[in-house]
Symmetry: C2
Subunit: 496 residues, 2 copies
C-alpha cells in the first residue's frame, strides 16, 4: 500500500551499506596488521597538529563513509602511537588479536546491556562461566569460583577493580550496624612504595584522604617487605586507626617486582584486613604452571585482579576481578531503584553484575574473552606467554653480559629494566634517540633514584627479530659491541 | 635463509583469516539488523539455561572460528534480550548504528591507549574536538569548550561522570590548604527524590555516607522543587554541614521529569555549591533548538553529562562529560608516577585524559562518535530525535483519549508513563502479558506509589508501526477499543 514517497525518511545506514562498508573496515584492519611495523611506533605530531586539520564545526549534512576512512588515513594516522607494533616495548602491552577484535565487533552489533541478568541472561552467564574457566586456567583458588561464595566479574580496568576492592574492604571494616553505609572512617590502606598509582587514586576517591595510604618499604628486588608491613599495621593500630586493606602487587609497573603474597596473606589473616592482589600485568603468566610461583599464597586473598587486555590478546578494555565473598561487594555497591526491580533478581537465583562495580550499564565484554580463549586454546595462550618470557630472559642475558648496560632490577618474567653504566644523562640520550628513530618505543622509570629503561616484551606480534634489532640499536647508542659478550643475537639471521 | 620448519610457531589469527572471518561477522550483524524484529524482545531462558550448555572447562586446543559463531547462534541467542529490536520500549534505549559499530571495530583494530596525549595524540585531540563540536550542536554554554578553562571528556557511563563531578565538588568544598586531598568531610549532596540511583552510589563511593544525600521533594511534574532545595541547604548549613553538590536531572529515569535548572543554578551560585546536570537520556533532545528549553539555565552549571550511547545512535559505552573548570577535576584525580611522565605533559600544551576519570587506560571512543556525527550530520540526528518525540506525543494522545489508560506523568519528550485505570493489579497483568508475547518489551516504575508502565520511544529502528502495534495490544489487554476515542492508529496502514 505504500508508495515510494510515503516511505519514512531515514538517515540510518542500511544493512547493505553496512555490509559493504564493514568489509572495507575489515580490510583496513587486516592491512594495518600487515603493515603496522612500517610506522614509527611513537607518533611524531606536535600538540594541536591533529585538531588543526579537523573542521571547526560538525557537518550539517551526512557524509560518505569513504570520506571518513580517508580522513582516518590522512588526518588521524600520523597522530597514532602504534600499540600494536611489534616494536612496542613501552609501558605494558595492550594487545588486541583477530578473535578479540571480532568479539568486540559482535558485541557492538548485538548492542545488549548486561546490567541485570534479565536484560540479557547470556551476557551475565557467559561472563560468570568464562571467569570460572579462568580460575582453573590460572590455578587460582577455588573460593573465587561462582559456585561457592565468590565469583568473578569483568571490569574495564584494574583501577576500577582496585577501587571496588577498597570500597568493599572499607565497608567490611566499618560498622554496618550503624545503618550508615559508604562512610570513610579512620581507615588506613597499605601497599608497597612500588604499587601502581591506581591505589593512590582509589584511596582519594573513597574519601579516606591521601595520607591514609601507607607506602611500605621494599626489599632489594623492589618487593614489599612483610616485616615493614607488620610494623606499619602495628603502629597504626596503636595510633587508633583501623587498617582496612593491604594490596599486594604481582608484577609492579616500574620493574615487575613480585610481592610475596604468602607472608602478606598471613599478616592480613591475623589482622583481619582485606587482602587485594593486583596482578594486572603479570597474572597472565600463571597460565603456565611453571610461573605460578608468582602467586604463591593467593589462597589467602580476598580479591584478585588481572588484565586480559594487557598480555592475553584481548583488546582493551577487559579486566578480570574476583572476590572470595561476593556478598560484601554486592552489599557495598547495590542500590535498587524501582525501575530496576525484576522477578529474576528477586528470586535470588541470578547474579546482577551492576552491583559488582561503579557503572550501571555494561556491555557484552565476555564475548571477546570467550573468542580469545577458544581461538588460542589454553595451549596457544601458554605458548605465546612462554615465548615472550623466553625473549625477555635472553635479552636480560645480553644486558648482563654487556659492558655498557646493567640490569636495574631482577627480570622475573617479561620486563627487563636496564640503564647505561655512564649514568642518567647517557641513558636519557639513548632513550630519546631510540624513540626518535621510530623502530622501537621504550618508556622509562626511576629505580633507586636512577633513570631506568623499561623493555616490556609482550606485544602480540613481537618476535625475536624485533628484540634483536632493539638490542643492536641500544648497543650502538651505548657504544658497545652487541656481539662482544654473548651469543650473537640475530647474527645468523636464522632465528628471526 | 629461513626454511619452513624454522618458522616460529604461532597461534595468532593471520590477517587473511581475519579478513574472511571478519566478513562473516559483518554478514552476521547485517542479517541481525534485518531480522532482529523476529525475535521475542525479552529473552525467555531460565536462570542457568545458558551456562548448562557451555563446557565445564576451557578448551586445551584452539577451535575453529566457525564453531564459535555457531555457538553464538545456538547457545547465546536464546539468552539475548534484544535492545536493538524496534519493539524495545523498556528502560531507556541503548542504541547502536552502522557507523558506530564500524567506529568501535576500527578502534578495536587500532588498539591504542589514550591515557596520555603522547600515547596517541589523535585519540585525545579527536575527543576534545568532537566534544567541542557537541557543545555547539547541543547549544551548551561556551564555558564547557576546551578553548577556555573548561572541556569535555568521554567516559563510559553517566554513573562515572556523576561520580567524578561529586569528587571534584568534594575537593573544591574541602580545604586544599591542609595538604590532605581525597577527604570526605561533613559534606552534603542534593538531588531530587526522582534522581538516578547513580547519585546514591556516588555518595557512598566517595565516602560521604549514604545519609548525606538529601532527596529533595518534587512538584506535580516530578521535577525538583527549588524552594525545597533552598530550605534543605539552609537547614544543613545551620546544622554545620558543608553542602558540596546539587545534581539537577534533565529527564529522570522514572518519568522523564525536567528539573528547572535556572532557579537551581541561582541557588547554587548564591550558596557556592557545585551544580552538576545529569541529562543522560534527554540531553540528546537539545540537538533540536525547539527542545532546548529543557536545559534553560545550564550556563550556571559546573558540570554536565549526557549519553550519546542512549539516544544518539552511538553504541555503549559512550558518555559525554563537560566541566566549566577543568583544573579542579584534574587536581582531584591526578596522580603522577614516574613511569607516566613525558615531555608533552610537562609542556602544559596538552590534555591527558587519565586525569579526568577513575580509569587510567582508555580506548579510542571518539572514533565511533565522530563516525556517527559525520554519517548522520546534525540534520540526520535531529530528524530521528524529532521523529521519536513525535511518535511519543502521538502515543500519549492515544492514552489520554482512551477510557482504560491514563497518563501517570507529563510526557515532555519521548517517554510516556501510563497505567490502567483499574489499578496496579490490572496494570501488572498487562505488563506481564505484553512482555510474554515478545513483540514489545516494557518496564515499569512507581509514581505516586502506583505501578506505572514506561513506554520509552527511542530505539533506532522503531517506527510508527511498532508503536501502533504496542497500542493495539495494550488496548486489547486493557479491554478498550483502540479506535474509540482518537484517530485510528495505523488504521490505514499507510504511515507504517
Amino acid at each position: 500500500m505504500s508508495t515510494d514517497d510515503e516511505k519514512p525518511t531515514t538517515f540510518h545506514m542500511t544493512p547493505d551499506d553496512f555490509r559493504s562498508q564493514g568489509r572495507e573496515v575489515i580490510e583496513w584492519i587486516a592491512r594495518y596488521m600487515e603493515t603496522v611495523d612500517e610506522y614509527p611506533v611513537l607518533s611524531r605530531v606536535a600538540p594541536g597538529d591533529i585538531r588543526s586539520r579537523l573542521p571547526d564545526h560538525a557537518p550539517e549534512h551526512g557524509e560518505e563513509f569513504s570520506a571518513m576512512l580517508r580522513d582516518v588515513d590522512d588526518i588521524l594516522m600520523p597522530g597514532i602511537t602504534h600499540w600494536q607494533s611489534p616494536g612496542f616495548f613501552a609501558y605494558f602491552p595492550s594487545n588486541n588479536s583477530g578473535p578479540s577484535i571480532l568479539g568486540e565487533l559482535l558485541s557492538a552489533g548485538l548492542g545488549v546491556q548486561g546490567m541485570l541478568w534479565s536484560t540479557s541472561p547470556a551476557c551475565t552467564e557467559l561472563e560468570t562461566h568464562v571467569l570460572d574457566w579462568l580460575v582453573e586456567m590460572l590455578g587460582l583458588p577455588e573460593r573465587f569460583r561462582s559456585q561457592g561464595d565468590g565469583g568473578g566479574v569483568l571490569q574495564d580496568t584494574a583501577s576500577n577493580s582496585t577501587l571496588c576492592a577498597l570500597l568493599a574492604a572499607r565497608e567490611r571494616a566499618m560498622d554496618f550496624s550503624s545503618g550508615r553505609t559508604g562512610v570513610a572512617g579512620d581507615l588506613t590502606v597499605y601497599a608497597s612504595d612500588q604499587a601502581h598509582s591506581s591505589i593512590d587514586k582509589a584511596v582519594r576517591i573513597a574519601g579516606l584522604g591521601s595520607d591514609r595510604l601507607r607506602k611500605i618499604a621494599v626489599d632489594a628486588t623492589y618487593a614489599l617487605r612483610p616485616d615493614a608491613l607488620a610494623e606499619a599495621l602495628k603502629r597504626d593500630r596503636e595510633a587508633g586507626y583501623r587498617p582496612c586493606l593491604v594490596m599486594a602487587t604481582v608484577g609492579t609497573t616500574s620493574s615487575n617486582a613480585i610481592d610475596p603474597i604468602a607472608p602478606i596473606a598471613e599478616i592480613c589473616r591475623r589482622e583481619g584486613v582485606w587482602l587485594h592482589v593486583d596482578a594486572a600485568m603479570s597474572g597472565t603468566a600463571a597460565l603456565c604452571p611453571e610461573f605460578r610461583w608468582i602467586q604463591r599464597g593467593v589462597e589467602g586473598a580476598d580479591s584478585y585482579t588481572f588484565n586480559p587486555h594487557k598480555w592475553m590478546f584481548t583488546n582493551f578494555d577487559c579486566n578480570a576481578f574476583w572476590v572470595a565473598d561476593r556478598s560484601v561487594l554486592i552489599r557495598t555497591l547495590s542500590v535498587l531503584p524501582e525501575y530496576l526491580r525484576n522477578a529474576a533478581s528477586e528470586s535470588g537465583a541470578v547474579l546482577d553484575y551492576r552491583d559488582w562495580h561503579v557503572q550501571l550499564g555494561r556491555r557484552f565484554r565476555a564475548l571477546k574473552l570467550w573468542f580469545v580463549i577458544r581461538h588460542y586454546g589454553v595451549e596457544g595462550l601458554r605458548h605465546h606467554v612462554r615465548e615472550h618470557i623466553r625473549l625477555a630472559q635472553e635479552f636480560a642475558q645480553w644486558v648482563q653480559a654487556s659492558d655498557g648496560f646493567e640490569l636495574a632490577a631482577p627480570a622475573p618474567l617479561n620486563l627487563v629494566c636496564l640503564r647505561h653504566v655512564d649514568g642518567d644523562s647517557r641513558t636519557q640520550t639513548i632513550l630519546d634517540q631510540i624513540n626518535a628513530e621510530g623502530e622501537s618505543y621504550l618508556t622509562h622509570t626511576r629505580l633507586d633514584g636512577r633513570l631506568t629503561l623499561r623493555v616490556s616484551i609482550g606485544q602480540r606480534a613481537t618476535q625475536r627479530i624485533h628484540v634483536e634489532r632493539l638490542w643492536q640499536r641500544l648497543s650502538a647508542l651505548g657504544g658497545i659491541d652487541p656481539n662482544s659478550s654473548h651469543p650473537v643475537p640475530g647474527g645468523d639471521g636464522e632465528r628471526g
